[in-house]
């Protein structure tokens, strides 16, 4: 009888753990973005055009909605100075948003300083 080494016995466990970590990492993909510089954006939004950020924020109010296009939402960033930022959430994201809900937003600063939400996840 062939005798299996100990690390070989843990190998399935390691595979399971690796798979679990891989799966977890996939679920927390936007956590990897830089936090959104609120003050810098308010002072000079043009300087941030093209950047991608992560922003944890609370839904403050829905400013405008255009069916088939999306909606403009005013959000209050969490963990920063009190401020209100407008973000655009396309209808294609299929999000159900309500005031006071908190989300982690993966967003891009587009032309004109538009904060375009690429993805969001409720916190």
């Amino acid at each position: 009888m062939r005798r299996y080494p100990f690390h070989a016995a843990l190998r399935p466990l390691v595979y399971c753990l690796s798979l679990s970590l891989a799966l977890f990492a996939a679920g927390c993909a936007r956590q990897t973005g830089e936090p959104f510089p609120v003050a810098a954006y308010q002072n000079a939004p043009d300087n941030l055009q093209g950047n991608r950020y992560t922003l944890d924020a609370e839904i403050d109010a829905q400013l405008e909605w255009r069916e088939g296009t999306g909606r403009l939402i005013a959000v209050r960033p969490l963990g920063t100075e009190p401020a209100r930022l407008p973000v655009f959430i396309a209808d294609s994201l299929g999000a159900n948003l309500m005031v006071a809900q908190r989300y982690r937003l993966e967003l891009t600063v587009r032309r004109g300083g538009l904060l375009y939400v690429n993805a969001l996840r409720k916190l």
């Binding site: 294609s92 299929g94 538009l114």
Partner: protein
């Protein structure tokens, strides 16, 4: 306008016309004289006629003179005719028109009469004339010739006075001429009688000779043939010259003629120792007789012509005196005429047409007595009229007295009742006359204020002056003028300058000295001046955006630019805009007092949007800016981003501003505006992108909902 002016002056001129002579005052007043004459108190023409007819019926005087009187009264006081015609300088009396020369001259004569003092000369002159009348009235009896001669001599004395006007001298000369012609006629009568006597002698001679020839012709015809009777022309020739001079009526001629007559047998030819007469001598005798007949006829014609000439000259003088209204002298001349010419010569041969116009019937026999009657009628009327003048004067009816006096003066200018009118009364009437004349002239100039004062003065003097009528007419004219001016002002306010000009012209026509006209003119001048200045001011301020200055002078500019089609609406819009700014400023002031700086600033911002360059608004904003700097910074930034097309950045700033002042209307409206615009951009962008790619991306995202 003219009718109004006429109404305004009608009352005045109804009275004042006697000074001008253009109205019907004289004929209208004339019935009063007729009434006085016919012992009736009524003043109307019809009443006068009725009174005259009644009086005639009562007296049973239906004779021609009375009818004439009635007709004269009717014609003289016909209220439908004008007594005075100033255009041709005539005055009508009893239907006849007297030419009194230039009316201006006649007015001057009347004024001179009113101002003329009484003189002793007048009294002396009147005494002389009365003496003439007295002498001529006693023509009957043996002293008639002497009285007439004395009256004739007095005429030369009367002619020396100015008031006589030479009329007495004309009569005296006419009388002298008539007498001279009468003497000539008497001389012709002597000649005629002598020629008649000569004619009779010649007739006898011709008849005798004819008979002798006939007698001797039959018995001694043969002797006459055998003796060769010859014709002795020397004998006949010697007698012919003397016969042909019988036309001369001197004594020498008569003396020359006697021998011829006494030597009648010598006119025959001695044939055979017996007197004989030849046919040749008979022929000459017949011719001499024919010549004498012709001379006699010529003498008769000359006598007749001389008499007619004298009569016509005298009648011409009488008619001229009558037509010159020298009625006294007309009577004097008629008296002389009646004395000089006998009853068969009383029919008027000259001036019948003129005199007939004074009489009611054209088929009447116009005689010298007709002229006497008319002259006495005029004198009586003058006397009665002057009594009426004195009565009116005594009652204080000075206007009526002046009217009657002027009417009487037209006819009886040279008669004693007019000349004897008291100096003091004439002076009062002269003053009234001048006042009324001045009032008329002022009324012509439409100086109503002066007329008003003068009329009031006249009213104090003359009780019968219709002051109230004149005053009311003046007031009416003044009111109409003012109303027209008001209409002009209203028309000018609405920009209807044509109607305004028409109204001003009408107002000036009614009352040129209207004080409101002066004020209106000055205001219009100022308005025109301000209008030109206001246009410059407005354009300058408008160009610089200084609406506040325009607003501050809005009252003056509104009047000046009211009719300006371009600036008028602009001014109106500016006034409305600045009025709203004023409201914002007041609101901001109140909000600052309530310590609501953000709201105050927003009010000022709204005001600034209306007037970006308004000093008051900007100053308030500057004062308030430090207190709302952050908010203002966000809003300004938002506006800049919005203007540059960065809608998202602008939205961010508006949200930031709203964070500072949640009640901000600026932020709220900005957010709504920018959000809409931003979504429009996104929608456009989405439509522009590739549709399949978008669909695929959507599908991919939809496939990863769990991962989010």
């Amino acid at each position: 306008m003219r009718s109004l002016r006429f109404l305004a002056l009608l009352s005045l001129f109804t009275f004042a016309s006697f000074a001008q002579g253009t109205d019907e005052a004289a004929p209208a007043a004339a019935p009063a004289k007729a009434a006085a004459k016919s012992a009736s108190s009524t003043a109307s023409g019809s009443a006068t006629r009725s009174a005259a007819e009644s009086a005639l019926n009562v007296l049973g005087t239906g004779n021609i003179e009375s009818n004439t009187l009635l007709s004269i009264i009717n014609k003289a006081f016909d209220t439908d005719s004008d007594a005075f015609n100033p255009e041709d300088g005539t005055v009508s009396w009893k239907g006849h028109t007297y030419n009194i020369g230039q009316f201006r001259v006649f007015r001057a004569r009347f004024e001179r009469y009113l101002g003329q003092p009484e003189s002793i000369d007048q009294d002396v002159y009147r005494a002389i004339v009365n003496e003439v009348f007295s002498l001529l009235s006693t023509r009957g009896g043996e002293a008639a010739a002497d009285n007439t001669r004395k009256a004739w001599q007095l005429l030369y004395r009367a002619s020396e006075y100015e008031s006589d006007g030479g009329a007495s001298l004309a009569i005296a000369n006419q009388v002298f001429n008539a007498w001279r012609i009468r003497d000539e006629k008497e001389a012709i009568g002597v000649t005629q009688s002598e020629l008649g006597r000569i004619r009779r002698q010649q007739q006898s001679a011709v008849a005798y000779t004819g008979d002798l020839i006939a007698k001797e012709g039959a018995s001694s015809a043969s002797n006459a043939v055998s003796n060769g009777a010859s014709f002795m022309p020397g004998t006949v020739a010697a007698t012919s010259p003397s016969n042909t001079t019988t036309g001369n009526s001197t004594g020498n001629n008569r003396a020359n003629q006697n021998p011829q007559i006494n030597n009648r047998p010598s006119a025959t030819t001695e044939i055979g120792g017996s007197p004989t007469a030849g046919p040749v001598s008979q022929f000459f005798r017949a011719r001499e007789l024919a010549e004498t007949e012709a001379k006699l006829k010529a003498a008769e014609a000359s006598a007749m012509l001389t008499g007619v000439q004298a009569k016509l000259q005298f009648q011409t003088a009488i008619v001229n005196l009558f037509l010159q209204r020298r009625f006294q002298h007309c009577l004097i001349a008629a008296s002389f005429y009646r004395y000089i010419f006998k009853g068969s010569a009383q029919t008027l041969e000259v001036g019948k047409k003129e005199v007939a116009s004074f009489l009611p019937s054209s088929d009447m026999a116009i005689t010298v007595e007709s002229l006497e009657f008319l002259s006495r009628e005029a004198m009586n009327e003058t006397e009665a009229s002057m009594q009426g003048v004195r009565a009116s004067y005594a009652d204080g009816q000075l206007v009526g007295a002046l009217e009657r006096l002027q009417e009487t003066f037209f006819i009886g200018e040279f008669l004693p009742p007019v000349a004897q009118f008291e100096r003091e009364k004439k002076q009062v009437l002269l003053n009234l006359y001048k006042q009324v004349d001045e009032a008329r002239k002022l009324a012509d100039l439409k100086d109503y204020d002066a007329v008003d004062k003068l009329v009031a003065e006249i009213g104090l003097t003359a009780k019968d002056f219709r002051t109230s009528e004149v005053t009311s007419a003046l007031r009416a004219a003044q009111r109409m003028s003012t109303l027209s001016l008001y209409g002009a002002q209203q028309a000018a306010a609405t920009g209807d300058y044509a109607r305004a000009q028409e109204g001003v012209q009408r107002a000036a026509g009614l009352w040129p000295l209207n004080p409101a006209l002066k004020t209106y003119t000055e205001n219009m001048a100022q308005q025109v001046d301000l209008g030109s200045q206001a246009a410059v001011l407005f354009d300058d301020a408008f160009k610089r955006g200084d609406l506040r200055r325009i607003y501050d002078q809005r009252s003056e500019l509104a009047i000046a630019l009211l009719s300006d089609a371009v600036r008028g609406p602009q001014l109106k819009e500016i006034i409305e805009r600045i009025s709203r700014v004023e409201i914002y400023l007041a609101q901001a002031k109140e909000l600052v007092a309530q310590n609501n700086a953000f709201a105050a600033w927003e009010a000022l911002d709204a005001a600034s949007a209306l007037t970006p360059n308004d000093v008051s608004v900007n100053q308030r904003r500057a004062d308030l800016a430090p207190r709302v700097a952050a908010f203002v910074g966000r809003v300004d930034s938002a506006k800049r981003q919005e203007e540059s097309g960065n809608q998202a950045a602008a939205l961010t700033q508006y949200l930031a501003a709203q964070g500072l002042y949640p009640a901000s209307s600026l932020a709220r409206t900005g957010i709504a505006r920018v959000s809409g615009a931003l979504l429009d951009e996104l929608a456009s962008a989405a439509a522009a992108t590739n549709a399949p790619e978008a669909t695929a991306r959507s599908a991919t995202k939809a496939a990863k909902p769990d991962s989010e």
